[in-house]
Symmetry: C2
Subunit: 329 residues, 2 copies
């Protein structure tokens, strides 16, 4: 009735379970003819290794956990997709968790509660800071993703958000825009993504001697399309003149673009827009979205490399980015 075990196969062939194990794993010595018979029995009886027992015995699970804020956000979905693909190349199975950016969910994950013993954890924290994580209970290797990290005792993978934002803003400046709004500031709570991108924005303006007009800096609750749309509404209604928008992610940019379109504001003629993330969607929006493109596949590979690498010094891997010039700016 139950699943076939090594012992079942061994009994069927007339050898010990361990010998079957040796054939399955290619360990030890087994005669060729016996190997053949055992392999036949393996197939005939439909043996599949019990991962739990294997893990209990060996300590390795062949699985890593990936914890992301929200899969319904394309950036994280695309990143997850890359991580799964990259892990598969290394025959690692990925277990994906959704934290919704909640601190308790992130802590539970980082403490390894409620999930099987993992060989590693890739966490993209929103709520938890490096200090919070320093006290975590679990000792499984961890790699952090994103920029909510600061001085982290853990290896992490990130893009240079300030530089990237500066480049994005500089691109708008280079195309002749002077009244550049920023959508994505988050005053409530120290959201490092938002801060760093805002810093880049300011730096770009200042480096060419444009004064930062605080009225052009729009705050948002979250980084979703709806927030971008709302921010754009408010910006228009405020009556402050602007000729470009740097949105701190693509969803905000697309939301804003939707508002502009509804309000009869032409993109890029009246307002140029640059986003951040390079999600697929921006390639097919109307108009297509100019954006900062971090190399997601490289992020995935780097994260897995850091997990695999036994040299546990806290390494920071900076992933390159490029500006994808499309129709919106």
């Amino acid at each position: 009735m139950g699943r076939t075990t090594l012992k079942d196969v061994g009994d069927h062939v007339g050898v010990s379970a361990k010998t079957v194990s040796n054939v399955v794993n290619g360990t030890g010595w087994v005669r060729e003819d016996l190997k053949v018979r055992i392999r036949e029995a393996l197939v005939e009886l439909g043996y599949r290794p019990n991962a739990a027992a294997r893990q209990l015995r060996s300590g390795r699970s062949g699985m890593i956990a990936v914890a992301l804020p929200d899969l319904s956000q394309p950036y994280f979905a695309e990143l997850a997709s890359e991580l799964v693909a990259a892990a598969e190349d290394r025959s690692i199975t990925v277990l994906i968790n959704q934290t919704n950016g909640h601190a308790d969910a992130e802590r539970r994950i980082s403490d390894g509660i409620g999930i099987p013993v993992m060989d590693g954890l890739i966490l993209s924290p929103l709520a938890l800071s490096a200090d919070d994580l320093a006290t975590r209970l679990d000792t499984t290797p961890i790699v952090l993703l994103g920029e909510h990290i600061g001085e982290s005792p853990f290896p992490h993978v990130t893009v240079d958000n300030t530089a990237a934002s500066q480049a994005a803003t500089a691109h708008l400046i280079a195309s002749g825009r002077r009244r550049i709004a920023a959508i994505g500031a988050q005053p409530s709570g120290p959201n490092e993504t938002s801060e760093l991108r805002l810093n880049g924005y300011r730096a770009a303006l200042e480096s060419v001697g444009i004064a930062v007009d605080e009225r052009l800096i729009c705050t948002v609750e979250e980084f979703h399309r709806g927030d971008g749309a709302l921010a754009a509404e408010r910006l228009i209604d405020s009556g402050v003149a602007f000729d470009a928008v740097f949105a701190f992610n693509d969803l905000l940019a697309l939301g804003a673009m939707h508002t502009f379109s509804a309000r009869g504001i032409r993109v890029p003629e009246d307002v140029a827009i640059v986003g951040f993330d390079d999600i697929e969607e921006g390639r097919f929006s109307t108009p297509s979205l100019t954006t900062v493109s971090p190399d997601k596949a490289a992020i995935a590979r780097a994260a897995l490399d850091l997990l695999a690498d036994p040299s546990t010094s806290p390494i920071e891997t900076i992933i390159p980015f490029q500006i994808m010039r499309r129709a919106s700016a």
Copy 2:
């Protein structure tokens, strides 16, 4: 050095491991004062249950596997998000796999290879048919998602694709369109999604006495934005007149919309568009996308219900849909 075990905690308090286990699980009898001391020790030593051992002993893992073609497609990402959320309500952990629609990946998953023994599997097959799955090795409960199913011996959750497509097409007809193109036919290989939606399209036209013009039926490789854009290009270049498009999913619709915009064709004035899936993106596209909206949260809940329900008769759950009327049609 290693992780704290029940025995460690027991030794620390001066009781057996089993007594600690009783406290952790609320089983058996333990004096109140002892419970308190054990709980303190649990926290002090940072005990966390070993899922592998638990699973090996009890046979239950508290995890289900979800296998989807591709997370980078918003529909699947949003569905995965709903599944994870719905599973969390039932304190179930979800392990997400990506099959890329490959038959071998789908078979491996359905046979439970390479993944821990799962309490259940939710599979959205693209390549595998019901017959293929009938011979699967594994006996863990399975629920199928989507319409590539036919006469399935397994419980499955789906929307009435034909009816939904008919309703979508009818909506275009009701708004006065007569030359309605269909984007999403897939001649190569029996893709049931495509077939069913095409059937609904034909049925809607025929029911009002409009002859189906085969030149208006556009084939695509996959259901991605790029395929939709390409199909629209070809449709325009073919010179065949059309005033509306029913795209078999939102990505195709958005891709087509992108082409129309680039070619100076106005949506919905010149061409009305209806999609299928109701992904977030369509709410903020320019113009916003009218689409068939299956209730994704209901799909997630139904799938989990079917997994949990011990009555293993092959049940088909039909999920309701509605037409989301937005700007594109």
